[in-house]
């Protein structure tokens, strides 16, 4: 049997996007059930460092499609379609990045196969079929989706799967597929490329303790009290989408579907209602303390410690202590 799980490795400036390694990690886990081979495909300029980047990863075969074309959905999807037709993988996974999410539907429709968007979990059932779990309907439910055609395709939300930790070393065979020259045929010409300046003052996905501020916080002053408090808890602060919309914080502080998926050991949500979009960002967090005046808020249903209390009272208390401490420091 030659059953294959294929993963797409997104290349940005010669570096494999981290979600690629998460896909390999998941593919490895899945491959242990039915003995699949893991293959990977990437598209870009020829780059010798890719081999090093993949060192120690359980990838049997890498299809390296060489092209000078910058991201071009139709051409890229055509290349991936060719690889799929040749390799006939059981499963084809892409990261749910902007690149992956736009490339995957083009490939899937070409191959007349099904595609599940933005999965947060994948597993094989007893029949060896891929079960694709994704939040649906405003993230109020988890849908478990099956595909009856091959390849079973899914995009996978970044930050949700574990990277491959360790196992027997597998030499990766690299097959180069030369598509240089095809850039002449495309009807899409690149005019300019500019980097998106990411003012990432802090990486909230790497913090152990997060105080997450929500729409229930009514003033900037209250917010800054909580920002400082987060620091004194040896953590940092983050926020829900509403506060980004208010212009208080940037996306780098946002937790949720359109923000970041966090990995904290403990989060304290204050005035966060916990929409399903928000919950998508805290899926990995087990220890949630939620403070909200509304017992019925969704966050209260998933919190380990749901506390019903008026936010102002709590913030007032924190502020009091802060003032006392500051006084103490001045005196000291």
């Amino acid at each position: 049997m030659n059953k294959v799980i294929l993963v797409y490795l997104q290349l940005n400036d010669g570096i494999i996007n981290p979600v690629g390694f998460e896909l390999i990690g998941k593919a490895y886990e899945l491959s242990r059930v039915k003995g699949h081979r893991i293959c990977a495909v990437l598209i870009g300029n020829k780059n010798d460092t890719v081999k090093d980047q993949l060192k120690g990863q359980p990838v049997h075969q890498l299809f390296y499609i060489e092209t000078k074309l910058l991201y071009n959905v139709k051409e890229y999807a055509g290349y991936l379609g060719e690889v799929c037709r040749e390799l006939e993988p059981d499963i084809f996974l892409l990261g749910a990045t902007k690149e992956g999410r736009s490339l995957a539907p083009y490939v899937a429709a070409q191959l007349s196969t099904g595609l599940t968007a933005d999965c947060t979990e994948l597993k094989l059932d007893e029949d060896g079929k891929l079960r694709q779990i994704r939040p649906a309907f405003g993230e109020s439910v988890l849908a478990d989706i099956k595909t009856r055609t091959l390849p079973q395709m899914a995009t996978v939300r970044p930050g949700m799967m574990e990277r491959f930790a360790e196992g027997p070393a597998i030499p990766t065979e690299i097959c180069y597929i030369d598509k240089t020259g095809s850039e002449k045929e495309t009807m899409v010409k690149v005019v300019s490329v500019s980097r998106i300046e990411k003012v990432k003052d802090v990486d909230i996905t790497k913090q152990d303790v997060l105080v997450i501020l929500g729409a229930g916080i009514s003033s900037r002053e209250d917010a800054s009290v909580l920002e400082r408090w987060a620091q004194s808890l040896s953590g940092t602060f983050a926020c829900s989408r509403k506060l980004v919309e208010r212009g208080w914080y940037g996306i780098s502080r946002q937790v949720g579907l359109s923000g970041n998926a966090v990995n904290a050991k403990l989060i304290i949500t204050i005035g966060v209602s916990g929409s399903v979009q928000f919950q998508a960002g805290i899926k990995k967090v087990k220890n949630i303390i939620a403070i909200n005046h509304d017992e019925a808020a969704p966050i209260m249903q998933i919190a380990k410690i749901p506390i019903v209390q008026d936010l102002n009272t709590v913030i007032e208390k924190i502020k009091e202590w802060e003032d006392e401490r500051d006084d103490g420091m001045v005196r000291g």
């Binding site: 400036d13 995957a104 099904g114 439910v141 099956k146 009807m187 690149v190 005019v191 980097r195 209390q309």
Partner: protein, 266 residues
């Protein structure tokens, strides 16, 4: 003249859920509206129309009551609405939907440009626009957040990718999906609303499109929902009787940052 097709969708207005036993969608109040991301698509088409005198047709696929979203787009200034509706189309997933929509669009005319919103608020996949482009074998420009120029032959626009903005010029035909940030959307004027009542809405069903049954509806959908799990089921009883001081202390303990150890908060 430039011909533009815009795809919109009717979605439930309020938070929806799923009945865990039946798997059916719970539409809490039965109210529907246009998918919020689609306003940006309609707006983009109308801006192009203002610059180049393009013709803008609005397509939707759904139940007969989806007519409302077409009327709304017509009141904003679009020219014609096309409702693709047939009980045989029910149960379509991304692949079947994109197939039916692309065939409907092809039947209506030779379009240069198809504009879609970034995603819907109910399906939330952001996949249909790319699948339509694929069905037609057209070029596809996703995540457009700025349009630099539109001419009779080509569009120059900027894709907001993961790490960079890529500005490209694409020769028609082409499908684009637009970010909600692309334009501030207009509200319908009284004049346009009155005018829109005279505008035509065409209905296409199976008798007009005659699509192969294996490619549409449930039969044409390779994906199936095998199960549903509500995320809000294992609630711990909320704690109501803690004072603010006790709450802060509790949190400090959970954070393994006892008050005493930090000097400040005694």
């Amino acid at each position: 003249m430039l011909k533009i097709a815009v795809c919109v969708k009717q979605v439930p207005k309020n938070q929806i859920g799923i009945d865990e036993n039946t798997g059916n969608i719970i539409r809490e109040d039965g109210l529907n509206c246009m998918n919020i991301y689609d306003y940006a698509a309609v707006e983009t088409a109308l801006r192009i129309k203002e610059q180049t005198e393009a013709e803008v047709d609005i397509f939707t696929m759904g139940r007969m009551d989806s007519r409302g979203v077409l009327q709304e787009a017509l009141a904003l200034g679009a020219d014609e609405g096309i409702l693709i509706s047939d009980s045989k189309y029910a149960g379509s997933d991304v692949l079947a939907t994109s197939y039916i929509l692309s065939r409907g669009i092809m039947k209506k005319g030779d379009y240069h440009l198809i504009i879609c919103g970034k995603q819907t608020t109910d399906g939330d996949t952001a996949q249909v626009s790319g699948a339509i482009a694929s069905q037609l074998n057209w070029n596809y420009l996703p995540w457009i957040h700025e349009i630099a120029e539109v001419t009779e032959k080509e569009i120059t626009a900027c894709m907001l990718m993961d790490f960079e903005k890529i500005e490209v010029t694409a020769i028609y035909p082409c499908v684009i999906s637009v970010e909600p940030s692309i334009y501030t959307v207009r509200i319908p004027t009284l004049m346009n609303t009155l005018k829109s009542r005279k505008k035509n809405i065409t209905v296409y069903g199976q008798s007009e499109l005659s699509l192969p049954e294996h490619a549409i509806g449930q039969k044409g959908a390779p994906t199936r929902v095998a199960g549903i799990k509500n995320l809000t089921c294992k609630a711990v009883p909320a704690i109501r009787d803690l004072t603010a001081a006790e709450i802060v202390r509790l949190i400090c303990e959970e954070a393994e940052c006892p008050l005493e150890s930090r000097g400040g908060y005694e």
